[in-house]
Symmetry: C2
Subunit: 230 residues, 2 copies
Amino acid sequence: MEKLQNIRIAVDAIVFGYKNNDLYVLLIEQKFGSADRYWALPGGLVQNDESLSDAVIRELHEETNVQLTFMEQLYTFGDDIHRDSRNRVISVAYYALVDASNLEIKADTDAERVQWFKIDEIPPLAFDHNLILEKGIERLKAKLTYEPIGFDLLPEEFLFSDLENLYCTILEKEIDRRNFRKKILSYGILEETEKFSPIKTGRPAKLFKFNKLKYNELIDKGFHFEIKFA
Amino acid sequence: MEKLQNIRIAVDAIVFGYKNNDLYVLLIEQKFGSADRYWALPGGLVQNDESLSDAVIRELHEETNVQLTFMEQLYTFGDDIHRDSRNRVISVAYYALVDASNLEIKADTDAERVQWFKIDEIPPLAFDHNLILEKGIERLKAKLTYEPIGFDLLPEEFLFSDLENLYCTILEKEIDRRNFRKKILSYGILEETEKFSPIKTGRPAKLFKFNKLKYNELIDKGFHFEIKFA
DNA sequence: TTTATTTTGCGTTAATTATACGCAAATGTA
DNA sequence: TACATTTGCGTATAATTAACGCAAAATAAA
């Protein structure tokens, strides 16, 4: 007969933030391992009476203060049976977005440090977390082109140039500013505010808001969001 | 301190097949439960020393003879902690494609029946398998439009009208036969054979083959497969 | 006070792609 | 021989995308 199943199940979360025209990821460094310290994605074992998504929320709350604007399951990593050298652990990875523009993460505790890392300055991570992160970035890039999740990385009110820069930097592509603006505006999912940017150079720019209600209405009518580039 | 983790991990597989101009799914009915018998997706618990995808392959092999042409992880179902009434079980769902046109599934054993079900004639399934299947169909539909996985549901050599019908029936949309043909041919990923269809009505039609090598070459050059409809 | 500099916001045109068809060719059948 | 059926190729038009031009509104410099 089969041996009793002895596999642990964990969740890990990729938290993406965008600030200063760069994409960041939230990492933690556990200190109780004393010997080799590694930066890692926030996460941990799932509790018996807890749903997977609740487990992610809990782990993130324990380690950070971040207010998520979007969260979605990414992939389950369980093909490498030695991804954790101590035990067989299968990890259900999630990725989440936050408005990092004016966000405080929790102060470091005795147990761990928490820090934002630029996406192109990621250190070697614990377990297979570099792999997980890679897959997360891939997914973020793809999703950005067919769902309006870019707004979840920006403040409630933002400049058109912010949105444009977000797309350029994350997708690592050049886009024509004017065509981009025309396209997004044609969808009718942005609301113009009366406010102007506090920036002191060039022509003052209006602040815009994403109208999620309007977006959902359009979706019901068969609308499909899409941003493509050469 | 935390209670020891007591969560089981299983895999389930949606096997899609296409024949007679209809999409089918492979279901099994376990008999040892005696009382209430339910049709269910093939699957089972993951073994300690086995990768997730190996577990799927093994379970499918135990229950069927199918030769997979495509397999991909779909989603991990673990938000409903009572999805299995007996134990907490988290299921990693996969979906796979086969050429069902001339395929024998295993004969029914004492333990279970195996059968193809038309996608619009699915009975109530065990656990949350109807939900899993729904998500699988959604994914299949989406993927069909941006990756050439339709060929994995067809025989090695197929008619253009087969391919066209496959897209029409799975996506439940009408398409213009001539524009569809033009579009696919323009990609240069099909190979014409010298053979003709054995069908005895209308003008004889050439058999085509999907040239995967050519497709991969194009992908490397930045090609993007896409089939859109009104 | 003028003159650059910078960034926004709105337009125009050409190139490409999608859509909607027409129609002859090649077979089997009445 | 005429007819029904399905394939295979083509063409005209509409719609969308891509590539730019340029004035407006502010600050900074001369």
